[in-house]
Symmetry: C2
Subunit: 389 residues, 2 copies
Amino acid sequence: MSNPNGVDQTENPVPETKVLAVASHVVYGYVGNVMATFCMQALGCEVAAINTVNFSNHTGYRQFKGTRTPPEEIRDLYKGLTNSYLLDFDVLLSGYIPSAEALHEVALIARDLKTRREVMRPGSFFWILDPVMGDQGRLYVSEELVKGYKSVMRSGQEGPDLIVPNGFELELISGVHLSGSTSTGEDGAELERRPTGDNYEATLDRVKEAIEVLHKRDGIRMIVATSVRIQGKQGVLCVVGSEKKSDGSSRCFVIEVPVLDCYFSGTGDMFAGLMVGRLREACQNAGTLDKHGWASDDDVSASELPLAKATVKVLSSMGAVLEKTMKAKDEELEKYESSRRASLDPQSKKDDEEKRHFLAKTKAAEVRAVRNAGDLIRPNVRFEAVALD
Amino acid sequence: MSNPNGVDQTENPVPETKVLAVASHVVYGYVGNVMATFCMQALGCEVAAINTVNFSNHTGYRQFKGTRTPPEEIRDLYKGLTNSYLLDFDVLLSGYIPSAEALHEVALIARDLKTRREVMRPGSFFWILDPVMGDQGRLYVSEELVKGYKSVMRSGQEGPDLIVPNGFELELISGVHLSGSTSTGEDGAELERRPTGDNYEATLDRVKEAIEVLHKRDGIRMIVATSVRIQGKQGVLCVVGSEKKSDGSSRCFVIEVPVLDCYFSGTGDMFAGLMVGRLREACQNAGTLDKHGWASDDDVSASELPLAKATVKVLSSMGAVLEKTMKAKDEELEKYESSRRASLDPQSKKDDEEKRHFLAKTKAAEVRAVRNAGDLIRPNVRFEAVALD
């Protein structure tokens, strides 16, 4: 459908895409489905959102109100869609899921959607899974949910087609210790008991090893490790992706992006949401959207993979938006500081002041996606995918 | 904040706007907060959404799953925002609210936000209320909620700054019978017991009378009646708006839009969401954003009101998107019919076939907002606001 005025096919060549998005909802700020939905819609995707939690704000504020959606309500909402034949989805994107029981419901939804599509257009349905479990050595879900994710990874054709873990999550699900000092047992149990610390640094060889384990042992076809600190590479994060070949071997690409001196929440959701649109676009361009699991032929090199091209665009959009967010954050915090100085109550407690400052800093770092939608739609490509041999 | 690539100030001159949006959430389709949020974000507004229900789909399908948000959870979510100082909203947009108790919570939120803003920037906070109660003579909320809306209308400075009822809702809250045969008592009780039918037609004099009652009796400053059938005007709906003068009198404008031969759900939410951005834009252009309630001077004529200019743009966007939706709907239904003919089971019951056809028709009429975002952002102005003397 062409549209001369706006987000049309010439300037935004993402094919029509219907997505079922299962992730968290927050009233204020940009994480979970709020972030992912906006990113997908900016790229022209239709999004149906099942919200796994309804919180006032993200947990990085260290306080919030709201409720988790019970697993049976997730099932019930999907039943509602089924009853009215509202299941014409091309993609399932699953993000934060609060419990192993809820993950079980999501896996059943994935299986059902895949099975229905097998009848009509085999292999055309695609599940992108962000295994949200923790970051920088800190686990923030239950051990039971970690086990659930591992089991989902190993469910073959019924499992996810693309997973987008961060470095810590890649360690957890592969069982490969990325820093290269020791490799853990196959079930990764040791890792869970001994999460790596904030300052650990991986080697690219180990990242590749972890990716190959997931290709071969678990059968996952596409993987992007979204942020890994690599030994000897100062000031950059590495994004490492691969689409497995038919013999199960990897073809890894690496993209280096500068580290920004700020902690943002919701960047994983931003990555996943933009990836939905960009992968559809790249696979359409490569003519693979009608192939089973959107698979590339074996002779496509790592840096020429649709997955690599999509990742470059996604990271270019994110780089632009996050830089603008940092600038806006500094301006907001300056205003906060000057208004605090003007109204400072000499009786106020130091603890209160510190808490208030922390909350203001966290708020100021909310990603400015909406006012910078142009960077999502038309990124200036600023990175390069390089094959990792 | 300028942005050379995308939805920037030159092509989308809506000023930075933070909105708290309280309305329904559906997984599939475009009504309530799903519709309003996307429309506002397309115009560059930041939206914080409190979802009053979480349903699988809109009720026009005649079946759905999901839950209503209890009033105490609405209160709790707002408490979460308060605790973390996440209250920097310029606008409250309230849509579907499931009960009188929930409306009470929303009115408390509005009062709190207004009071806080009074200290910093008096009158700059703005409440847009869509009194969702029914349509075309059919009430679909409780009598208690209707009473609640009437009471909220009469709460003066603490009440809404702009209301956007449809014709039926305008009758209910004003107590003025629009078809001109009888005028009901001030409390409109008679009307509620005797809802006007599908085919009733109003007169513009009576619409103006109803608007004046709301200006003078209830003190509502801005009103847009979003769709009224007027006697003698074939093939068009009238949209009638007014901003009251300082003596309480009205200055009404009328915009005629063609009737489309299709029932769409979510158009009220689309109108309200687009109105948030367009009214901010028009009031900024008129220099009234810093005035109490964004009020225009008395010498501004009806057709030159920021409200009139905003309404013209909103209706132009909607006209374009709804026309494209009708076309897409016809294509989708053709596909449905041919696939049904191909797979028709001679054993299937006529009732099942009819139900399935109804569901397919309802789904096909879901408004195509996302793929036509350009029409939201850059409408070709196609209507005109004319003063009603």
